[in-house]
Symmetry: C2
Subunit: 212 residues, 2 copies
């Protein structure tokens, strides 16, 4: 499925999964209808991410859902993922494209129009725009930590690529992000830390789908 | 040049380079005769390591010296390095071999005989054994932080691969490491932090060569 059709995009982070394993969260969230899964797991070693990635590849393949690897092109290739998601300080998108080939999905984080345009020029398939809302910084005013749905709208208007909003998004604000022009939303805690990750995934997907 | 012929192997770390740039250190050390260069630079982003790696590729190619990338197989491929060096928590050596091909050099860190045997079975081309001497932990007794030249000897005897000693090695103790059976020594600070990296590289190379 093309990134333009991803409504709910789960980004894994075991440290925010209320003591549950990532594979368990992913299996449940797939059941709830997430359209794509990104293995992030910052802070874990490459070997641990490789082992987890192989497990998530099985689960996502069974569900016919794309698996994306954060940052590491080698890990994406090694676990036969569908693509990679690159931040501004990761390898350039053009390098990832060259290593992974035309069929792979290359996503790029962009929080400004120039970053978005550069990613488009480098051959990105979708943009992760954010942080839309303040995240992990609850003692700081939201306006200095979240670019807001307005930025999503600005970037979606400026660049001809699907935009996925990320950062502090849950079922309560996902509709506003979609309304601003995001094809979908990427979420971590709203699914990984939910009491019921399946219901959380289904609800976010429905809220976004209603706005598209 | 085959890793069995590497006497002095420079591992870069700008944070230990007395305020000088890594490219400057590498250029000077190549002039002093280092046989191989590994780009480590832990703590720097993939993008920064990519930019530096391309610069070091030029310098090492001019000197006809192999360039190895620590940890990241994708970065090694992207900068056209000669190989990769993997720790025990990095991607498995067999995965690196599959991604990089038979001609590439795959090195693996091993501090025990079982780790060394596993690396040999996985197709490693050389072993980095250490930390031979205590390093970065000067307030802790050396015996709990360094495996010593004895372990170098044990591993060199047990496995039919070139062994490179690493960890706290300088011109003063490099001879003991070579005498124990190491083909060469990998050093960071002994070159990167030296007043004269060229002289330091030349001295270490000579000390090791005298024991081989």
């Amino acid at each position: 499925m093309n990134p333009s059709e991803w409504r709910a995009y789960l980004v894994t982070q075991e440290s925010r999964s209320a003591g549950r394993e990532t594979a368990e969260i992913v299996e449940t969230a797939l059941d709830g209808g997430v359209d794509a899964v990104q293995i992030r797991e910052k802070g874990r070693s490459a070997r641990e991410r490789y082992d987890l990635g192989r497990r998530l590849r099985e689960l996502t393949a069974d569900a016919d859902v794309p698996l994306i690897v954060n940052d590491r092109v080698d890990l994406a290739a090694a676990v036969d993922a569908d693509g990679v998601h690159l931040g501004q300080s990761d390898l350039p998108a053009a390098v990832a494209r060259e290593r992974l080939g035309e069929e792979s999905i290359v996503g790029v984080s962009a929080s400004t129009v120039p970053e978005a345009r550069a990613a488009a020029d480098a051959g990105a398939d979708y943009l992760g725009v954010g942080a839309v809302y303040a995240t992990d910084t609850k003692d700081v005013p939201a306006e200095t930590n979240g670019v807001g749905p307005e930025r999503v709208a600005t970037i979606a208007d400026a660049v001809d690529l699907p935009v996925v909003g990320i950062g502090g998004i849950d079922a309560g604000n996902a509709g506003a992000v979609a309304e601003a022009g995001a094809a979908g939303v990427a979420v971590v805690s709203a699914i990984t830390a939910a009491d019921d990750p399946r219901a959380a995934a289904a609800e976010i997907r429905e809220v976004v789908g209603d706005e598209r």
